[in-house]
Amino acid sequence: MFKDITLGQYFPGHSFIHRLDPRTKILAVIIYITSIFCIKSFLGYAVLAAFTVLCVLSSKIPFKFVLKGLKPIMIFVIITAIFNLFLTDGKILVRWSFITITYEGVRLAIFMVLRLFFLVLGTSILTLTTSPIALTDGIEYLLSPLKKVGVPAHELAMMMTIALRFVPTLLEETDKIIKAQTARGADFESGNLINRAKAMIPILIPLFISAFRRADDLAVAMECRCYRGGENRTRLRELKMKKGDVFGWFALVCLVGLIVLANVAYGRINI
């Protein structure tokens, strides 16, 4: 039942994108997301789309697989599009009884859809090509300058690693509990929303109890293995920027440059 959930799924591989330093990829995604919201024209989005396609191609991950990430946000995208389409003021395009669609509304709706799509695609490419360990290492490194102002960078990274480690274990356990309760005659499928929510209680309570137990056990096991926070910790795999990262940064600078150009051009010719 829960086997299909693909939380921050990693698609193992050895492509150029896979081998990039996680810090490069995290910063690139931040820049990518920022640029999504700075683009003012369709030309800009065309540039971004071309860049995204190039990234997916060089990651050697099937397009279908990447696009699967869009499915869960579809409803959200449609609602956003409808709101923007009907509720934006401006030059009237269609008027039919109480419904009015404006030129600005159409434009904004398309932009919002594109923004959400690129947002999900960009972050998917990051999580698909970066192992959870590398991702948390990268986040820890990038946050470590903030340690001075009290941001617990190591602890946050450790929490993420442990959460990722226990997601499959807890999903498996949930599955087991559901089966056990179903065998005892529990019904999770029928009834109204409130009844269904009530049916979840016999699943959640044992799950919580077991999760706390696991947390307790894990804390002792970590102490037994001399865990004492991030201080003086060494790593099996140190992060190292390589030649590929230089190229990655160059590609990113090109992307930003082209988007800026597209924005400037928009100011002049309006596409």
Binding site: D217, Y227, N232
Partner: protein, 292 residues
Amino acid sequence: MDGKTNNIVVDIKNVEFLYEDTEETGGSRVLKDVSLQVRRGEFLAVLGHNGSGKSTLAKHLNAILIPEKGKVMVEGLDTSDESLLFDIRQRVGMVFQNPDNQLVATIVEEDVAFAPENLGVPQKEIRERVDYALDAVNMTEYKDHAPHMLSGGQKQRIAIAGVLAMKPDVLVMDEPTAMLDPAGRREIMETVKKLNREEGMTVVMITHFMEEAAQADRVVVMDHGKILMEGTPREVFSRVDEIKKIGLDVPQATELMYLLKKSGLNFETDILSADECVNVIKDVYNAAKEAL
């Protein structure tokens, strides 16, 4: 350190212990004047029914718990000295019952590296230790796997590798086979015996499987927070009546001999394995045949 103490890895002297929350134990002590010495290179099994204080004793070996009275010395280091905490924990590797709840990382290799990383071991040496530890438990080919994809026995072997990477002097295991299927149990016993014989690793293993205890060099039986019996498996298990009185079993082969003896036949109960059992019965049978 003189030569004599050097042969003792862990020295437990007159330890008393009481949990702060005494509801479960009804206010009585969980450990009552426990003294025990773990000798270098031995394979020591600890038996006792649920609640007899085995896990509590194990947690005293690496300063997770500190004795209320008495002393625990690990390689001459006092566990009550807080400045020695990590020196002690590094020397006493601890493996627990549930393999799922002791693995930290999402990749086998990263998990084994966890302890040396915490100890601040240089990167190159971490690599060596991880490779050594995975090899010692025969899991090298799984180093890039995710732990949750492995079997129970394999996960538990990774947990053992995780503490071996600290280069401990003694491996303490609290019912490491309790949650495993028979195949997993066999895997763990083989791994532990190999570590003990080939690497000279000192092993303390808490178990409730008598067949596992029978394979140890020495057995300690705990009851109500006290050490009731101590000796070789043969010595301990031949005291069948006493063991049964505290609600424990003996290995199946011993049980058979015990029942035969009870029914009036001339058998001794110092038998531990099925093979021995077969031989003894064969001897008796042949002797009987000749007598006829």
